[in-house]
């Protein structure tokens, strides 16, 4: 029986294991240094906030693994020897493999700031980071102020977490507006407002210069590039993540920023694959990045690689881009491609609508000349994934989207709907005369 060894028990590795089990009888071993069991990384924040206990963020009950004959091994892989086809675990024992899947995820970025390794300075990625946060910022008495450096998704989550315990937060963001490298200006501006509503001290266009220590080697303050000193007991470094691959440095497996893979998720070494955050495509796929550190892409790569392992060599061909997040109280979904105002393609035109008083808005991207629909961002409105996937497949134009937007609405029943206002604004901007069609179950469920 073939030994399939998977390093990493995150969404990518676990998805691969589940699908290999569905399609074969191979022996499957998952190794993780982080936790005994798979948990939802994106849900770690809710444990600190008291919405859930750690056991709640484990998607499968503990008996699941034994029942499905997926062996779990706790340990840190220090070396991969692809000639002998074996792994060394913590310089102590070795483990043979026939096929190896690397799904080691990411690690938080650090950019060489003075003081970045002091006590009280941390990132937020792993279960260990969460445990550390309970020590560094258990309450507002121990942590009288926290500073967060880096305005991305993890940064705003960490700010929300700390605010749930009433800890004052200063949030340093390099850009001139929150996440404006990804979001169009209107949306980014709205999130800025919401951040301030939550009494988060948002400092735009501000960088970290240095972290200062007290006599015990603990953080006591930071200095910004504007030479302001901010006293704090905890510093959260959240300027993004990068692939967790340093243990492979001398392994002979080709590395770039991540583990280099082809479209079949194969590395340069036979029988070794890489999936999830740690994999780097030689050539990016479409508008995607070559390293995709997203839950969904990790899962999709897991689904794909399992096919290859089970004898059906399959190319990683993700469908239309989609993603979601939640900024404090505002839900965000995106389907297709909407680029930021600064990063917009030459042919890309945006239509933006925002509710006059609520934090609800959307941006639709379409082709300037052909009016082909390219993508949509929504804030505070939920949308149907299937519908947008279908419209993107059918290469509909933006008028079609405006006209049938009611089909796509996924908000709970009785919610106020805004399709008419949205259409009215579109009509006035583009000189059209579109009338939104009523929601139609037949159209909605005529899918696939």
């Amino acid at each position: 029986m073939e030994n399939i060894v998977i390093i990493g028990n995150g969404i990518a590795g676990v998805t691969a294991a589940r699908h290999i089990r569905k399609n074969s009888n191979k022996r499957i071993i998952i190794i993780s240094a982080e936790t005994d069991h798979f948990f939802s990384r994106t849900a770690l924040m809710y444990v600190y906030m008291g919405h859930m206990k750690f056991e709640h963020i484990k998607p499968y009950e503990d008996w699941f693994w034994k029942k499905n004959r997926i062996e779990l091994l706790r340990g840190y892989v220090s070396k991969v020897d692809h000639q002998k086809k074996e792994l060394q675990i913590e310089d102590a024992r070795t483990l043979k493999y026939d096929k190896l899947i690397l799904a080691t995820g990411s690690k938080p970025n650090k950019f060489g700031w003075p003081g970045q390794d002091l006590h009280g300075v941390q990132g937020l990625y792993s279960k260990q980071d969460l445990d550390l946060l309970e020590i560094n910022a258990p309450n507002k008495e121990v942590c009288k102020r926290a500073v967060i450096v880096g305005g991305g998704l993890i940064g705003i989550e960490l700010a929300e977490m700390l605010r749930s315990r009433d800890i004052p937060v200063t949030f340093l963001v390099r850009e001139k507006s929150f996440w404006d490298v990804v979001l169009p200006d209107g949306e980014s501006g709205m999130i800025n407002e919401h951040i301030l509503d939550h009494h988060i001290d948002l400092r735009l266009e501000t960088n970290l210069h240095e972290i200062l220590a007290d006599e015990n080697g603990r953080v006591k303050a930071i200095i910004t590039d504007k030479e302001e000193i901010i006293e704090c007991q905890m510093v959260g470094l959240t300027p993004g993540v990068s692939p967790n691959v340093s243990f492979l440095n001398d392994s002979g497996i080709e590395l770039g920023r991540g583990i280099k893979v082809n479209r079949f998720l194969e590395t340069n070494v036979k029988d070794i694959y890489a999936i999830g955050d740690c994999a780097e495509q030689h050539e990016p796929i479409g508008n995607r990045r070559s390293v995709e550190a997203v839950w969904y892409t990790g899962r999709m790569m897991g689904e794909t690689v399992a096919q290859s392992i089970c004898g059906n060599r399959t190319e990683y061909k993700p469908g239309h881009w989609f993603n979601s997040a939640k900024f404090l109280d505002i839900e965000y979904q995106t389907y297709g491609w909407v680029f930021s105002t600064q990063g917009k393609k030459a042919h890309e035109q945006h239509f933006h609508w925002r509710h006059p008083s609520e934090y609800i808005c959307l941006t639709i991207a379409f082709h300037k000349e052909t009016r082909k629909f390219l993508g949509i961002n929504t804030f505070g409105i939920r949308m149907r994934h299937e519908i947008f996937d279908k419209w993107l497949n059918e290469e509909r134009d933006v008028m079609h989207v405006i006209k049938y937007l009611k089909d796509a609405n996924f908000d709970p029943e009785f919610y106020a709907v805004y399709e008419n206002e949205i259409a009215a604004k579109f009509n006035s901007e583009f000189g059209t005369n579109l009338k939104p069609e009523k929601k139609n179950w037949k159209r909605i469920f005529a899918i696939g």
Binding site: K58, E134, T314
Partner: protein, 528 residues
């Protein structure tokens, strides 16, 4: 040595303490309870009506003020910060104390009403006497322990209903649903039966929204007699009672799922959703709990069916010339109805039953039919081996009192707020059976957007592992779902939506989720 293996399980100290005003609000609310407690120790209040108003108002304002302090200063959105740190909502000391206190109250209420001041053939004393003025105002009669309970129950649903609305003020589904349960409790459960009693003294106390088998005593002899004795109104009510079992509820459940009842109308559901909301996360999500649930709740259905059949049988006659419905006609009717349901389900929905469900259904069906057959073989005598009176009494004691009251509500802070609805309620089981097999209702999973975070499962009061479906891209079609909508509300990624749609494609499971390669999805999902 590896440093990665450290598990630093330190208890955090989030701001779980109450604000100063919240403490005052709690004291105010408790002072209302204290007045009732004093009455329980036979403090003779000079002006009972006034003291009752003071007591109820204090409780109501206490909850209302607490709510304002808790939510009004916060932005609208999900309010679950610190739920698992607070003793009351995480099975801590306060949770247990509250649970034991409530349980004690229910034991006194059901089995020792004299401690509440109930006096047979005499003027009430104690707590019940405190409620006399209100009862006389409404129905003209003195209060009973059930009137006391009903009043407190209604105050709880109204006060905590406002709290719930305030907590979920960003969510119109939750607001409208809660206004609905508050209305049905106040009007249908509390006011209308009292007023009807005033208008027509012969009418049995009838909460019209309380449908058999939840209202397991609705077809007992004394009630049937009372319905008949009170003329056209009584007959209309009896007719409505039968109609709601066989016509109204199947139609509504087909269109909207069982939520039309369980989380929009029902009083048990109303209390669970309002006063019980703080405990929804305590329901057990393990697969083993689901197995227990299926056996227990369906056994209760069998029990209530047998019991009701036996009770009705016991007072029917044998002579067709007196009345068309005789013992034999009735039993044959029941047998035919059950056979029809059994055959239809087994023929058309067979593939949707788990193995144990099939065994269970066949087993119970055979037992019921054997018992009915027993009657015809043995001639006159006991139906179902037991005396109908024994069945009725044991059902009333075990299910009506112990399960729905003492455990179902008393144990809110320990087992969660829907223990009764999930494990015990035969009405929920029957509606659920229909919801699972023949209804437009489902919770739609939004393509591939699930991140397996677990908020939906954690806050499901019915103990459904919602995430297990959502992360497979599968719609949630479960008989136990009461459609409270909280899974959808707490989902951070907009994955879940309660909706009534076409039957076709209602249940779907995907091997590979939306977002991946179209060819791969087609290949794998079609092989599936």
């Amino acid at each position: 040595m590896s440093t990665l293996d450290k598990s630093m399980e330190l208890a955090g100290q989030p701001p779980v303490a109450l604000s100063r005003f919240q403490k005052v609000a709690v004291i105010l609310g408790l002072s209302g309870l204290f007045i009732i407690l004093l009455a329980g120790f036979n403090t003779n209040f000079p002006n009972k009506g006034m003291w009752l108003i003071i007591s109820l108002t204090a409780m109501f304002i206490g909850v209302f003020w607490f709510t304002k302090e808790a939510y009004d200063k916060k932005l609208k959105g999900i309010k679950n910060d610190g739920v698992w740190f607070k003793s009351i909502s995480s099975k801590g000391l306060w949770g247990w104390i509250t649970g034991i206190t409530l349980t004690g109250f229910y034991i006194v209420l059901y089995f020792f009403p004299e401690f509440l001041g109930l006096v047979k053939n005499g003027a009430n004393t104690g707590i019940i006497a405190l409620f006399d003025p209100l009862s006389k105002l409404l129905s003209g009669n003195s209060a009973s322990q059930w009137f006391v309970y009903g009043t407190l129950y209604t105050v709880a649903i109204l006060a905590f209903g406002i709290k719930f609305i305030s907590k979920y003020r960003h969510n119109r589904y939750e607001i409208i649903r809660t206004i609905s349960v508050m209305f049905f409790q106040l009007a249908f459960a509390f006011m209308i039966p009292e007023i009807m009693a005033r208008l027509n003294g012969k009418l049995p106390y009838y909460d019209l929204k309380n449908i058999w088998p939840l209202n397991y005593y609705n077809f007992e002899r004394y009630r049937i007699n009372a319905f008949i004795d009170s003329g056209d109104v009584g007959m209309a009510m009896l007719f409505f009672g039968i109609l709601s079992v066989f016509v109204i509820s199947p139609i509504l459940t087909y269109k909207y799922g069982k939520r039309w009842y369980c989380s929009w109308v029902c009083g048990c559901g109303g209390l669970a959703e309002t006063a019980g909301d703080a405990f929804r996360q305590l329901s057990d999500k393990n697969l083993s709990a689901w197995k227990v649930e299926r056996w227990v709740v369906h056994s209760v259905v069998v029990f209530v069916t047998l019991m009701t059949t036996a009770v009705i049988y016991s007072y029917l006659g044998n002579d067709t010339s007196k009345y068309w419905l005789t013992k034999n006609t009735f039993l044959i009717g029941v047998a035919l109805l059950l056979t029809a349901i059994f055959v239809l389900a087994m023929v058309f929905k067979r593939e949707q039953f788990q193995k144990d469900a099939r065994y269970g259904a066949i087993g119970y069906f055979v037992i019921i039919m054997a018992l009915i057959g027993f009657h015809f073989l043995s001639g006159e005598g006991n139906v179902f081996l037991f005396k109908s009176e024994t069945l009725r009494k044991s059902y009333g004691f075990l299910i009506g009192s112990i399960f729905s009251g003492v455990i179902g509500t008393g144990f809110y802070p320990v087992f969660g707020n829907r223990v009764w609805c999930r494990f015990g309620c035969p009405m929920a089981a029957i509606l659920g059976f229909q919801q699972r097999l023949f209804s437009k209702f489902r919770i739609t999973t939004n393509g591939g957007q699930c991140i397996s975070c677990g908020n939906c499962s954690t806050y499901c009061e019915m103990g459904i592992d919602v995430r297990a479906y959502a992360q497979k891209g599968e719609n949630i079609v479960r008989s136990s779902c009461v459609g409270c909508g909280i899974c959808s509300a707490v989902c951070p990624r907009g994955v879940l939506k309660l909706e009534n749609g076409p039957l076709k494609g209602r249940i779907k499971s995907n091997e590979v989720l939306l977002g991946n390669d179209v060819d791969l999805m087609t290949l794998v999902n079609e092989n599936n």
